[in-house]
């Protein structure tokens, strides 16, 4: 549409139909979004992809590592949690399912759907024998789940106890949860911001929060974190670390997604005033970015840095011990694709990030600007191997190491 035609249309509307005279202000989600852009989220794939279509042979890893398909036929599989008997549970977003993936005697896997029809059940926490599912504001506890995979009893409803903001409170934005169990026995989760970028209630949104497992004693762990879909506690220092998705529509190369280190509960990490350590072009409100906690690392613009775990196994070389594996689901709000891989954040003796290193690549086809799968979460198995969930193709890859 040309500007002239558009203006003509507005003029007709103004003259002929006064009801249309009140054109809306630019809505929050459209801030910075140029009218001529055609960047949009990539289409999800929510149907089964057969094993022989999985790009496991395209995966690139450092020497000595190998990748195999651990499980497949799990459309939309995202965040993973492991039960005491080795069942891998996987949450999802759009398809609304929670999966249970158990190992058969012959090494193959069996996948069951243990919950469905839930609103974006992305956050999973295993505490003892009980699985907690966080689906936006709904919180459900499936007791003794591994003993009941074939006939899952009704869950215990904890939604009111946690009293998380509803999807309507979020306006649909960043309402899905990541959840992790802290070394203090509390459940850590995110409350994402209710927009792309906006003035928001900073006591309600853009937070990392923790609760007792019964939903009581909410505590703000970090403020001004736009949307974290990955958290873990350092195995030695017990500090909380989190990935963060930065805002859209501020250019191809800014801001970076970030890694955050929370030294004390309640620290302010600066959103929406500052992102990736720099002033926001629309929402800085004259705040000095140095007054906020700086990101522990920059993880790349628009990469969608999501699930993260400290490597606590012994299978991988010593250099990986207590380092952070991070899944980068991959960009949409960028003209050229970025991410679609797993990286390692290496920490020095002081616990500062010394470098970000590519670990699992091969899913991003730069020449053709296509991607083969989208890594969303990582999980360290008890044998020290690393699982990587691929949401786009509904697969879980297993990475092992042999000298």
């Amino acid at each position: 549409m040309t500007i002239r035609r558009l203006l003509a249309g507005v003029a007709i509307a103004l003259v002929a139909i006064p009801a249309y005279a009140q054109q809306p202000a630019v809505p929050g989600w459209a801030i910075g979004r140029p009218e001529g852009s055609t960047l949009a989220p990539h289409a999800p794939r929510l149907t089964v992809t057969p094993a022989d279509q999985l790009p496991v042979s395209s995966l690139r890893l450092p020497p000595g590592f190998r990748a195999e398909v651990y499980a497949h036929g799990i459309p939309g599989a995202r965040m993973m949690a492991e039960g005491p008997n080795g069942t891998i549970f996987a949450g999802s977003r759009a398809i609304g399912r929670v999966y249970a993936i158990s190992r058969n005697g012959d090494g193959t896997t069996r996948t069951r759907i243990i919950a469905q029809g839930l609103p974006q059940p992305n956050g999973l926490v295993m505490i003892g024998n009980n699985l907690y599912v966080f689906a936006v504001n709904r919180v459900l506890r499936y007791d003794n789940i591994e003993a009941n995979l074939d006939s899952v009893p009704a869950p215990v409803e904890l939604t009111q106890a946690f009293a998380l903001p509803t999807d309507a409170d979020h306006g649909g934005n960043h309402s899905w949860k990541f959840a992790a169990l802290g070394p203090d026995g509390r459940i850590y989760t995110n409350v994402g911001v209710n927009c792309n970028i906006c003035e928001t209630d900073r006591d309600k949104f853009a937070l990392l929060v923790s609760f007792n497992p019964d939903g009581s004693d909410r505590r703000i762990e970090a403020r001004g974190v736009r949307n974290s879909v990955g958290m873990a506690h350092h195995p030695a220092t017990r500090e909380l670390w989190a990935t963060n998705n930065a805002r859209d529509w501020a250019g191809n190369d800014w801001p970076d997604d970030t890694l955050h280190r929370v030294r004390r509960s309640g620290e302010d990490h600066g959103f929406p005033f500052c992102s990736a350590g720099r002033a926001d072009p629309q929402y800085n409100a004259s705040r000095d970015c140095s007054e906020f906690v700086q990101p522990a690392a920059l993880l790349g613009p628009h990469v969608a840095a999501l699930g993260m775990r400290f490597y606590t196994g012994t299978m991988f070389p010593e250099a990986y011990r207590n380092q952070i594996f991070i899944a980068r689901r991959g960009s949409w709000n960028r003209e050229r694709l970025s991410g679609y891989d797993v990286v390692v954040a290496h920490l020095d003796a002081q616990g500062n990030v010394s470098r970000i290193e590519e670990f699992m690549t091969g899913l991003r086809d730069d020449a053709n600007q296509r991607f083969l799968d989208r890594p969303v979460d990582v999980h360290v198995m008890r044998d020290g191997s690393l699982l990587v969930s691929g949401e786009q193709l509904g697969a879980i890859y297993r990475i092992s190491y042999q000298q």
Binding site: I12, P27, A30, T47, V48, G171, N173
Partner: protein
């Protein structure tokens, strides 16, 4: 429990990224004649109020919406029984069939109201419709073709997105409809329905 469904579709060969290479549009056509045509039209152009036309709709869009309906994420009472337990392959073949049909307006499309049409056209730019639906508003992948669609269906869909009664794979449409008035939705629906 849908384990049977998961394994039953494991033989399906699919090229990635929304490609419909391996889907069987002819098989989809047979399924559509049996299950879809009564409401969505023999040629995929709906003659039934409140029921969308699917002819020329993108396969990824049809597949996604049918999965959301089958899973109970998107509530469409008239579709619940049709999609219950439907295999992924059936859905993908149906989507390939509808994508192969030439799009077009319903036979009963009413006359154009020039003022309403112009008012609707004026909302397209400020609402950034073309960013996702593309400037021609013909959509791509999971984003639907919206031109030539039934007017009352468009009106209902936009209203449901605005009011949080409908969700997609993400919240893009909910965000795009924040704060829009009923009058603007009516104008948009008229413009889109009349625009080819």
């Amino acid at each position: 429990m849908r384990l049977r469904l998961l394994t039953a579709t494991a033989a399906l060969a699919v090229a990635f990224c929304g490609s419909t290479v391996a889907q069987d549009a002819a098989r989809g056509g047979s399924l559509a004649a049996e299950r879809c045509a009564a409401c969505h039209g023999d040629n995929g152009r709906s003659q039934m109020p409140e029921t969308p036309s699917l002819a020329g709709q993108h396969a990824s869009f049809v597949t996604l919406q049918m999965i959301l309906i089958r899973e109970g994420i998107r509530q469409v009472p008239a579709m619940a029984a049709v999609t219950e337990g439907m295999a992924d392959k059936d859905i993908e073949d149906l989507a390939a069939y509808f994508a192969s049909l030439p799009p077009g307006p319903p036979d009963d499309r009413p006359a154009r109201d020039a003022a309403l049409y112009a008012a609707g056209e004026a909302v397209i730019g400020p609402r950034r419709c073309g960013v996702c639906h593309l400037p021609a508003l013909t959509g791509r992948e999971q984003v639907p073709r919206i031109v030539g669609q039934r007017e009352e269906y468009l009106l209902r869909a936009m209203t449901e997105y605005r009011d949080g009664q409908r969700v997609g794979a993400d919240a893009q449409m909910n965000s795009a409809m924040v704060g829009i008035s009923n009058a603007e939705i009516a104008a948009l629906a008229h413009f889109l329905a009349q625009h080819d």
